[in-house]
Symmetry: C2
Amino acid sequence: MKKALGIDIGGTKILYGIVNEQGEVVSEIQKTATPKTADEIYSTLKKIIDENYDNIDVVGLSSAGAVNIENTRVLSSTPNLPDGYNQIDFSTLCDKKVYVENDANCACAAEYKNGAAKGFRTVLMITIGTGIGGGVISDGKLFRGSSGNALEVGSMKIFADKRQKCTCGRYDCWESYASGTGLKNCAKIGAKEYSEFKTSIYKDKNPDEITTYDITDGLQAKDTFSVRVFNQWMEYMYIGLVSLTDIFNPDCIVISGGMCNFVEVQQLEDKINAESVVTDVKVKRATTGNNAGMIGAGVLALE
Amino acid sequence: MKKALGIDIGGTKILYGIVNEQGEVVSEIQKTATPKTADEIYSTLKKIIDENYDNIDVVGLSSAGAVNIENTRVLSSTPNLPDGYNQIDFSTLCDKKVYVENDANCACAAEYKNGAAKGFRTVLMITIGTGIGGGVISDGKLFRGSSGNALEVGSMKIFADKRQKCTCGRYDCWESYASGTGLKNCAKIGAKEYSEFKTSIYKDKNPDEITTYDITDGLQAKDTFSVRVFNQWMEYMYIGLVSLTDIFNPDCIVISGGMCNFVEVQQLEDKINAESVVTDVKVKRATTGNNAGMIGAGVLALE
């Protein structure tokens, strides 16, 4: 069986290991701090590849940002990575095939091959963190669009009347309602609109300073304000997911990212299947965790 | 070059002709009235195929309704087609390959192969009539989802607060704002909300009875109420299309269907490219017209 060196380039660390065609990690997983300059990132990657060169067939890289259609460069500026990063031609790192893919697409491939979505046909993966990212694999093939930018689902609009400005400057992006930032926005607006705020454990807090942790802690403490804010957030999550279900007709939706443990997956599945116009879908939480990028990059490079 | 018999099964007529691999119609186009029972539809199709049998390699059928993943049956009930229609196994019509596909998907294939989207990589086709349908082809392959139901884009929600009930019974479906029905809804609501209604040529009309033709006629007559209603409708059209652009990253969007001649395609293209987070897209009007289903069914059957 062929093997890939899977490398996940994060803003703070680079994680890597050898991955086989079934998406299994067949080496120790190693990590190193992400250097501060593009040149140092390049030489660090080269060193990691050289060390593993004899044991691998291909190299897969997972990175934040939009990737070009040839899977050799990261095009967009990525706030957590240094200037010049988007000038790197990763295909020059070694004479074996080097394949770069966006981190959300890699995570989708990891879940499809050896995670929560193993055995499903059309998989939609949604990553919920500060923003919302996504990926789709259907019949084993990643949906990339005309230039590799597809699945910018965080920018889908869930209102059509310019109601709430997103951090990106546009209006009513799904991620301004249903991401971690969205949960904060729900709390801020809820503090003005919900009578429950007056008796909330957070009633003396500046509404702008209520955090996502406040709301998830408030849920545990059965604070009625936090419960109402959370339910509104889940409703926004649902609105986007039922639209995406009708659009992609997935048989599995995987929820991943920093906020995924707070999401009520069974409730989402029940509501989506009650309303969508397409065949039923399973909603699951991701299982590949921090290794998602590394595994997915390896799996995709091997295809 | 291989040839397909392309057959478009409509609610009132069946249109058919021989199509080659380039999507060109290489025979006379013929039509016959759609029979009133499923049995008669089956025998009519059999007769059409028998007459053309010696000149074709495969048969492609275009039909309203959701098609199964094997492309042999139409699963959903289709209001314009008789009871028992969804019991037909079209693969039994002859001993050559028979391939059934949804009419929106067929139209997308026709525009991709030999219409407005010829030469593009990722094509999103949107059909605007009483409702809204869609299809996506990327790298020559139709996106079908897990069971063939994908691209139910008319059901995408463009509000998240249960503002307007759709004819389907759900709330805030894109098609209740941006289809022909949507234009009527815009007029009905505009008559209550816009001061321009008081001086409109339609001021004495019951707002529930203002038709899509009234608004498009009003546009010609420079009626300020009709202009405002139309602009709101175009805004709703835009909201859905910019979301779908971010989701699919198409390089070409084709607008087809009964309402397509009213849509300002250049305005949509400019607005989408100014706002979307992905690479630029061309927005075009469909060119295959009434032959779209026949051509697309033929092209898809040949693949």
